[in-house]
Structures are given as structure tokens and as C-alpha cells.
């Protein structure tokens, strides 16, 4: 059994209420931090833990905290990014719904560490019921004296605000989130300045993912070194993985980073293997925006070593033979899945969610979607494949925010690894457009 940090008490009945959560050792970290530790001490522990941001980019959280500018007389803000909307990722939703107090406790500790007196949880608008759960948890924490003025007699004040977003994917980008929180149109800002210098209301701000913040209480309770001891190398700690697709047991799993991918897919503890009678064909390892992997590169690296669930191992080989851990949206495809259709579907999503601010993303995402639609419905030409690669290259890296990259990577990687499937769609349109028709070439299956 792997170590559980976030989901340790997930099966305790009534864990969403304050009383049960408290009985399971909840809010002891707040007591420890506020009574015995200085804010910088908490930052130091998080730095030692080496936890990397769980939202997708994997930027070390302690480093992000230490970059926060601290000018005199200017308020600082902590914003929790709970706008989880990446296709294939549903871990934050699960966490907030089941153990809301874990996030509230993490928010109190993190805000204390950063010196923020007003912190925000920006929740995706579709999750209205989760917002109510969080608000109830905050009210309970306030009644118990963990929020409000002079918390536990330490002289530290904190107000927590839950803010419902409008449901736009782009508002998960940190600067677009801040714009949206300020009540403006959710367009990403030009960087620099980064939020650590000029964020919410032009004040220094830290934006962290739900999972990252929820981990803070464990780190305070057990120390940064204990956290760093879990996992492998720079991929320390545990990670929530949202497993979905053609597996026997889809769901949210907490794994120690470093579990082999093969074990994660086939072990009964986790995904339980591919559904009966079918074979593994492809994997999207970290949410829809990361490059797709073909069967022969999923369990093994290009050099034959086993691939592990770590930031480094998944991105081994760059985009030629690797992918990214991303936000942990683990989507497994068996041989009944059509890669062309899937790529078109992802592309359709990014076309719909592009904010329309900068031209490569606004026009390019729509263009790619239309070309993929054409190929999927049997009107493509061989030229279209090269066109897609070219357009995706022109978008990648030339946009204001990473949404352009996120739209370009799945398309480029699908063509890189499954070009024969695209070609089959183009050369056999009458066959390929039949309902449920899937390419049955000599692709590698595991």
C-alpha cells in the first residue's frame, strides 16, 4: 500500500463535517503553525518538502512562495485555483467535495505563511454544490475559532472567500483567474509582471492549486523532510491521479510518485487493468493538453527502462518519446478508441475555450479543429496532416498564455505517433466514417 497523505481519512463517515475532521487530527497543523512556527518557518518547511505545484506546470511551491514580493504597507493575497476544468482531471473536485476542511486548513496555514489576511478560493462555476460545501466548512472553521480575527490568540487575522467562476477553462490560467476575480473579462495578462509582484488588485499574490494547498497541513505536522522522503528525487510526495478511460476501476487515486506506470494501470490497487478482452493502445498521462503516448512508450521509456509516475520519467525523451505528468488526468485508451476522433474532440475543446485575445490561439485553434473535423469525416487530404503539424508549430510558444501550447501539443503528438491512423482516415474515407470504425493497422498494442 502506498502512503496516503490527502486521502488518508477519505473513508471515515462524516469526514466532511468539522467534528469528525477534528477528531481525525484535523486543524492540529493550524495550531502548530500559529502557536509554534513563524511564517518564514512554514515557508522553509514547504521548501524542504520540495513539493511541486500540482496544477499542471509543476513549479516548486516553496520557490513560488519565496518569490512573493513583500513591500511595506501593501496587502498580499493567496488565491487557491480550484477552477479545475482540464478534460480528464477531476481530483480537486473530489477532494473539495469529500474533505473540504483539508483545503480550508491548508488555506489557513498557507495564508499565515505568506502573510495574507484575505484569501480566495476561486471555484469553477459549474461546481455550485461544492461551493456550498466549502462555505459550510468555512463557517464551521470560523465558529471553531480557526478563521476570523486573532486566530488562536496569535494576533493573526484571516478571512476566506469562496468565489464562483463563470466556468471558463481559461480562468484556470493564473492571471486570467486574477482578472476574473477582479470582476473583469477573464483574459490572461501579459507577463512580466508576474503575480508574485503584481497580482490581484496589483498586489503581490500567490496562486496555488487545491491539491498543493491541501498538502500544506501534512507538511506542517510531519515536517518538510518527511515529505521529501516520499517519492523519488525531485518528484517528492504523493499525487492525486484522476484515472479514466478504458480501465476496470476509474477513479481518483493517491499514489506515491515513483510508482511504475505499468503497475498503476494493471495493479488491482489502482486502475485494475484494461477492460476485459481489450488491449492498451494509447495514454494521455496528465490531462488533455499533454502529448499522447502510443502503447510501446507507455510502460517503457525509449531506452527500455520502465516508465515511472514522476515528473522526470514521464517527460523523459522530451516530446519525441515522452509526455508530462501535468495535472494528473490519466486517460487510458484501448484499441476501440479512434485517435483521430479523440484529437478532434480535444481540439474542439480548445477552440471553444480559447479566450480570443491573441491571434495565433484565437485563429489557430479553430483552424486545427476544422481540419481535424474534415479528416475525421472523410474529406481530408494528405496535405492536411502536414498542415496540422505546421499550424500547431506556429501556435506553440507564440501565445500570451499556455493555452496555445495546450492546444498544439495533443495535435502534434497524435500525428507524431499515430500518423498511419490519420492516413488511413484520408485514404479510406468510406470505411473510416462508418460509426465505430477504428483503424486496425499494425499498431503496437500492449
Amino acid at each position: 500500500m502506498g502512503k496516503k497523505i490527502l486521502l488518508e481519512h477519505i473513508n471515515v463517515p462524516g469526514i466532511e463535517t468539522y467534528d469528525v475532521y477534528r477528531k481525525q487530527g484535523g486543524y492540529t497543523a493550524v495550531e502548530k503553525a500559529l502557536k509554534t512556527m513563524s511564517p518564514d518557518g512554514v515557508v522553509e518547511e514547504v521548501k524542504k518538502a520540495g513539493i511541486r505545484g500540482r496544477g499542471g506546470a509543476g513549479f516548486p511551491m516553496g520557490m513560488k512562495w519565496s518569490f512573493l514580493a513583500k513591500p511595506e504597507g501593501v496587502p498580499r493575497y493567496l488565491v487557491c485555483n480550484a477552477d479545475e476544468s482540464e478534460p480528464g482531471t477531476f481530483k480537486d473536485h473530489y477532494l473539495m467535495k469529500n474533505i473540504p476542511h483539508l483545503l480550508v486548513e491548508g488555506m489557513i496555514i498557507s495564508s499565515y505563511a505568506l502573510g495574507a489576511n484575505k484569501s480566495f478560493i476561486y471555484v469553477r462555476g459549474e461546481l455550485m454544490y461544492v461551493i456550498r460545501i466549502l462555505e459550510k466548512a468555512i463557517a464551521e472553521a470560523k465558529a471553531a475559532g480557526f478563521l476570523g480575527k486573532n486566530i488562536l490568540g496569535s494576533g493573526y487575522d484571516l478571512e476566506l472567500v469562496v468565489h464562483p467562476g463563470g466556468g471558463a477553462y481559461i480562468c484556470g490560467e493564473e492571471t486570467a483567474l486574477l482578472e476574473s476575480l477582479e470582476g473583469k473579462r477573464g483574459n490572461p495578462r501579459n507577463k512580466p509582471p508576474f503575480p508574485a509582484v503584481k497580482g490581484l488588485y496589483q498586489c503581490p499574490t500567490v496562486v496555488n492549486n487545491v491539491e498543493s494547498i491541501a498538502t500544506a497541513s501534512w507538511i506542517v505536522n510531519n515536517g518538510g523532510d518527511a515529505y521529501a522522503a516520499i517519492g523519488i528525487g525531485r518528484s517528492s510526495g504523493t499525487k492525486l491521479i484522476s484515472a479514466s478511460g478504458h480501465i476496470k476501476k476509474p477513479g481518483v487515486y493517491e499514489i506515491e510518485l515513483g510508482v511504475p506506470v505499468e503497475e498503476f494501470i494493471y495493479s488491482d490497487e489502482w486502475c485494475g487493468g484494461i477492460r476485459d478482452g481489450h488491449h492498451l493502445k494509447a495514454l494521455v498521462a496528465g490531462g488533455s493538453s499533454v502529448p499522447i503516448l502510443p502503447a510501446n512508450l507507455i510502460t517503457k521509456l525509449a531506452n527500455g527502462e520502465p516508465r515511472l509516475m514522476t515528473y522526470e520519467s514521464l517527460s523523459d525523451g522530451g516530446f519525441q518519446t515522452g509526455t508530462m505528468l501535468g495535472s494528473g488526468g490519466f486517460i487510458v485508451f484501448d484499441e476501440t478508441a479512434c485517435v483521430v476522433r479523440n484529437t478532434w474532440n480535444f481540439s474542439r475543446f480548445y477552440h471553444h475555450e480559447s479566450c480570443g485575445q491573441c491571434s495565433p490561439c484565437r485563429e489557430g485553434t479553430g483552424w486545427m479543429e476544422k481540419v481535424l473535423h474534415r479528416i475525421e469525416y472523410g474529406h481530408g487530404s494528405m496535405h492536411d496532416i502536414d498542415l496540422l503539424v505546421d499550424v500547431s508549430k506556429k501556435i506553440e510558444g507564440n501565445t500570451i498564455c499556455p493555452l496555445g501550447d495546450a492546444a498544439a501539443w495533443p495535435v502534434a503528438s497524435a500525428i507524431r505517433h499515430f500518423r498511419d491512423e490519420f492516413e488511413w482516415h484520408i485514404t479510406n474515407p468510406s470505411e473510416a466514417t462508418k460509426p465505430g470504425a477504428v483503424f486496425k493497422g499494425d499498431m503496437a498494442l500492449v
Binding site: G356, S359, E363, G366
Partner: protein
């Protein structure tokens, strides 16, 4: 107290060294050098605070970040919003990646543009036309339907034709910063976003006409001038009048003896230097209203005197060679009878293009 001059930063752009004040952007530094060194700008507008960074036309490569930290920047950067550092080395028209990307930006901007330049009032003084002419290619690889919009009525003076818009946000910033109250903005998202007022509200204030001048394309046009003439047949003169609302310094455009249009004066980068009021712009159309100062100095991007589009004046420079080299035509032998777009009746496209005989809305 003695004036302490800020220490100047040395920046090298395309091999030319220039000294600028700290805080200057790469684009401004390049404009100081002038000529081809200045990157094109479709959304950046110097008089408007906060503009820029959106069109990505001005992307350049920073080969060395500064003298202290001479590492190159990993991605191309938007020169209009990136401040210079001392010892920075920038590659604009000398870098192939920059030019390839710029060509891609033209392509992106044009795929949903109607290309109705022959009937567009902006033709001849259009930033997009110039940008496409300088950096684009002659053919398109886009064969799907283009995004189209109905023309919108936003008041007595201004015509909004969203189909031509490239979403530079300049008019939004103008309304925010020049006029007292902004009633238009960007609605929708992605390539469905549009400049609009809420439920076709009229834009009605003394300085609203300036959105026409800042528009880089023909999306916002002057109703008092619409379809009256082509820019290259008109003669601009600098003129002024004693205006109680604005500076009164304008450019008055003549066709023969008739004043057919009044605009604000623009500098060589096609940017308005002093914004003018609606009275000057739309209502003073008699020579007697104006004190004529003399012929307008034609800016570098104007087609009127520069013969910009004449074939014999175009020199085959590096950019053109590159344009010819990269995108090769691919033989496309597919059966196009199956394509939806081919089967559409020609009327399908008719409402999109304004016609010279269209009644004024």
C-alpha cells in the same frame, strides 16, 4: 538640485546599436532606429495605455537578455511590451524564426478576414494590408468557411463591420481612456468574440469618432465618408480650427475642391498624435471651416505617394526570398465535389461583402 540624467541602456537591434532610457520597450527602441528595424504592430498603440501583446505581430528574438545575464530568452517575445535591458541583443528582421512566425501571424489574422479590400474604405491606409503585403504570402491554405457577422448599427457616425475585425482591442482602450464612458467592449470568446455594444446601443459621446482612427482595419468606418472615395484619390492637408472641445488640429482630405473627410493627424507609425472631437470630424466639411496649414507629410506606410504596391519598386530582399522558399504548393488531387464549401451557392457569400451600391444603413 541638479538634474540627474538616468543612465541610458545600450540595445542592439538587428546589429544597430541604440541608446534608450530605462523602461523603454524593444519596439520603441527599434522605432528610434526606424525603417525596417521597427517590428510591425497591429494591436500596440503608443498613445493608449495597456495596449499591446495581443496580435503577436511584433514578436522578436532576444539573443542576449542583458549584459549581466547574456542568456537568450527561450521564446520569442512581444517587443511592444517587453522592456529593454542594458546590453540586450535583439533580432528582428535578421532572424529566420521571427520572419517565419510573422508570416504565420499574417496567415492567422487573414484566415477569418474577408479580404474585401477592393470595396473596403480602409484600403490604402490599412495596417493589416500593409502587414500582409510586407510579411504575408500570396495564397491561402485555409479552405473552410470564414467567420462572418452582420453589420451593426452603433450610432449615426460610426459603422461597425465585425467581419473585418482582428480584435486588437484598440477601440476598447480608446473608449476607456479618451471618452467619458465606454459602451462597447468584447463579447464572446475565442474566434466567436466580437466587438459590440450591448444590444446595439449607439456609441454617443464627443470623442467617439476616434475609434475610427485607431482601428487598424476597416472594421470601424466613418459613415460620413463611407463608400465616397478611395484614399489614394484624395489629397490630405493639415488644417486647424478654433475648437472649444479639442485641439482642432486635423488632417482634412480633399477630392477636388470638396472636403470629403476629416481625421486626426497621424505620425509615421500611423498613430494619432492628438485625438479630435466629433464636431471637427463629422460636421466641419467646408473649406471655410478650416485654416489650411499645408500638405500633409505622408507617412511611411501610406500608399498615396510611396507607390508602395508598384511592382517595379519592390526590391527582392531577404524577406521576400524567405516568403518564396518556405511554403511550397502541394499538389492536391482530391475530389473536391465532396467538400461542403464547394457546394454552397454563391449567394451564400453575398451578404458578407459590402457593395458600393449598398444603401447607407
Amino acid at each position: 538640485m541638479e538634474d540627474i540624467k538616468p543612465q541610458l541602456f545600450k540595445v542592439t537591434i538587428d546589429g544597430i546599436e541604440v541608446e534608450v532610457e530605462p523602461g523603454t520597450t524593444i519596439l520603441q527602441a527599434a522605432r528610434k532606429i526606424g525603417g525596417n528595424v521597427a517590428p510591425p504592430a497591429m494591436c500596440y498603440y503608443q498613445p493608449l495605455k495597456g495596449s499591446g501583446g495581443k496580435c503577436r505581430a511584433c514578436l522578436v528574438r532576444v539573443a542576449a537578455g542583458s549584459a549581466k545575464d547574456p542568456r537568450p530568452m527561450p521564446k520569442l517575445v512581444a517587443s511592444c511590451i517587453t522592456p529593454v535591458q542594458d546590453g540586450m541583443i535583439v533580432e528582428n528582421s535578421t532572424n529566420e524564426q521571427v520572419l517565419t512566425t510573422r508570416k504565420a501571424i499574417v496567415e492567422f489574422l487573414l484566415i477569418n478576414h474577408p479580404l474585401d479590400c477592393p470595396v473596403c474604405d480602409q484600403a490604402g491606409e490599412c495596417d493589416l494590408q500593409n502587414f500582409a503585403f510586407n510579411h504575408g504570402m500570396a495564397t491561402t491554405r485555409y479552405e473552410e468557411d470564414r467567420r462572418t457577422f452582420e453589420k451593426q448599427d452603433i450610432g449615426p457616425y460610426i459603422q461597425l463591420h465585425m467581419t473585418r475585425c482582428i480584435l486588437c482591442y484598440r477601440c476598447v482602450y480608446t473608449a476607456d481612456q479618451i471618452t467619458q464612458k465606454r459602451v462597447h467592449g468584447v463579447l464572446g470568446r475565442g474566434d466567436a468574440s466580437e466587438i459590440s455594444t450591448y444590444i446595439e446601443k449607439a456609441i454617443d459621446n464627443d470623442f467617439s469618432g476616434n475609434v475610427i482612427d485607431v482601428c487598424p482595419v476597416g472594421a470601424l468606418t466613418d459613415k460620413t465618408y463611407r463608400f465616397k472615395n478611395r484614399v489614394w484619390f484624395t489629397k490630405p492637408v493639415d488644417a486647424h480650427r478654433d475648437c472649444p472641445t479639442c485641439s482642432g488640429k486635423t488632417t482634412v482630405w480633399y477630392r477636388g475642391d470638396e472636403v470629403i473627410r476629416v481625421t486626426a493627424r497621424k505620425n509615421e507609425w500611423n498613430e494619432v498624435t492628438e485625438f479630435i472631437c466629433n464636431t471637427c470630424r463629422f460636421e466641419k466639411k467646408k473649406t471655410s471651416d478650416w485654416v489650411i496649414e499645408g500638405p500633409t507629410k505622408i507617412s511611411r506606410s501610406s500608399v498615396i505617394s510611396a507607390n508602395k504596391y508598384r511592382a517595379d519598386t519592390i526590391k527582392p530582399d531577404f524577406q521576400k526570398k524567405l516568403a518564396a522558399a518556405t511554403y511550397t504548393q502541394v499538389d492536391d488531387e482530391r475530389d473536391t465535389s465532396q467538400l461542403g464549401i464547394q457546394q454552397l451557392p454563391p449567394e451564400r457569400f453575398a451578404p458578407v461583402l459590402p457593395h458600393a451600391n449598398d444603401p447607407e444603413p
